[in-house]
Symmetry: C2
Subunit: 339 residues, 2 copies
């Protein structure tokens, strides 16, 4: 059975298409009897109005785009879930796409989303995006737009973030509070705002506690991965035996470091305490369970959609508002990897 | 800057809208000079054609729907990634939605996708879906439709699956090959085809090796979770000390069982070998690393989109094909949790 059209219904009933359309829309100038006849047949044939025609009239798709660095990534999957669940309440669906952390791909994916006439876009910047004209173009076209998680101070738009400086400071403070005297940091290159801010928070905590920042135990990995964390962990075990605390900027890096410590028979947390960042599900099932900073993805996704929805309404009503940034709170979660 | 319309371009150039439209579409009855003038201005103003009008003409959205039990789920996230990457090559975008493993929600989410006029739908059934009229309705409406991973023999459509019987049989055989004599199974209720088939494969392996199926060490959990696995693991440690092998139908259950064994000081793999199912990323970072069955989500997603794309083409060309099922191969991955 193919899709039932308005034409088909009008042919079967021998009525004009305009009468059928009016009957379906409950217009008063069609008699109740005719209305019932048309509506009953429409129900029977499972008639669906042509959404494309409706979209053309309303210029709305009720679809938004969600573009992120990675789909196979616990934190981002919690964001997809938060966005999708919130969007659904307002009748919106969510196109999900990934940049694979690549600047050129980000440009391409944004164009693909615009081609689908989404009503708005949520974007978390690729790690190597340092030019922003492609983003500014979208915003200048008047497309409702919210940046989340990985944002840039150089883009003026609504944002949903965590306070990375404060979160990293709290994580480092946790290590200091439990007695760590020599704390290493494992991080990615200082390119994205998140990394820069977490690095800043780490140094701030050291400074405020009268501790010296030691460049030789500041490890820069190739990326945020398990293996980058393991490489740094190996270096710590081999050349920096006085390190008694490790702050890794991602849970995966922290777990990689745990693996290196285990292979070198360094006891966690007795000899070295380790704290990660993000509170991925897997931190609850490592040995030992990993202390970390909870970065609530579902809440970030929810807040990002709500901001975007507000922008969509503002656009309809020709309302202009100054850009705002919503900061979602984070908390340190102390588990077995810190004393 | 708001969106540039065809009308705007025609006003600026003092041409009719139809001339502008023809010039943009390279019609030969518009002079090359005029065509260039129009196209240059369109480029300069960043003109985008009205996709809604194009969609109305083509009756295509170039968007497909992907509906799955869970978004925050490693295996399903690899499927999203496989679908999105493959779809993109054909210019399609992917709406992602979740049923939360709930039958009623599945019905609702399917309707939401149809409301968005997607060109096709990929569905993995909710765990408690045992009636299929909502799915059959979609198929009968002529919407291109592919079931993947969690399917049903009662639905006649294209499918992408793994051979769960064979995969479970191979996992159990691996335990037998390394010398396990008393093998427990940890599973969910026997409702979904996948669970039924994996259970069947487990029993088949025992039978073919002349081993007795023992109902007392066949553990049925509330769900597929870490905690369901841990509960079963605790029971094994407390009441079935002769068990020397555990086959868990999901990696999470297996990791829950590992945790229980660890808490009871049962050595893995020396006293008990454990194998999971799915090859989630986290199996590579547990202690010990978990043996498992690789269920390649990216490949499943890729194959599912390719099948759907073929259906979309067939629909355009009025071609009918018999339903087919593509079986994606699985492999046993032996790591440290099995001897």
């Amino acid at each position: 059975m193919s899709k039932v059209s308005l034409t088909k219904i009008s042919e079967i009933l021998g009525m004009s298409k305009s009468t059928v359309s009016k009957a379906l829309n409950n217009y008063a100038d069609v008699s109740p009897g005719t209305r019932k006849k048309v509506q009953d047949l429409a129900n029977e044939l499972n008639y669906k109005p042509n959404i494309f025609a409706q979209n053309l009239r309303s210029q709305e798709s009720k679809i938004i785009g969600l573009l992120m660095p990675e789909i196979v990534h616990y934190f981002f999957s919690t964001i997809i879930s938060g966005v999708a669940e919130t969007a659904e309440k307002y009748g919106y669906s969510v196109i999900v796409a990934q940049t694979k952390d690549d600047y050129k791909n980000e440009i391409k994916q944004l164009e693909l989303l615009l081609d689908k006439n989404v009503d708005g876009i949520l974007l978390s910047l690729a790690d190597d995006t340092i030019h922003f004209n492609h983003v500014k173009d979208v915003i200048n076209q008047g497309v409702p737009f919210v940046l989340f998680d990985r944002t840039s101070k150089l883009i003026d738009c609504n944002k949903v973030v965590i306070d990375d400086v404060k979160a990293a400071q709290m994580a480092t403070q946790h290590l200091i509070d439990i007695g760590c005297k020599k704390i290493a940091i494992i991080r990615n290159q200082l390119k994205s705002q998140g990394t820069i801010d977490r690095h800043k928070g780490f140094k701030k905590a050291l400074l405020e506690n009268g501790m010296v920042y030691d460049k030789s135990i500041d490890f820069e990995g190739r990326d945020f991965s398990f293996s980058a964390g393991k490489i740094a962990g190996n270096k710590i075990c081999e050349s920096h035996k006085d390190v008694d605390g490790i702050f890794a900027l991602t849970d995966l890096m922290a777990i990689g470091a745990l693996e290196a410590l285990k292979e070198h028979n360094v006891a966690v947390p007795d000899q070295v305490s380790v704290i990660g960042f993000s509170n991925w599900f897997l931190t609850q099932i490592t040995t030992p369970h990993l202390s970390t900073v909870d970065q609530p993805g579902f809440e970030i996704g929810k807040a990002a959609f709500n901001l975007l929805y507000q922008e969509i309404q503002n656009k309809k009503n020709n309302v202009k508002e100054a850009s705002k940034t919503i900061v979602i709170p984070t908390t340190v979660i102390s588990r077995d990897s810190t004393k």
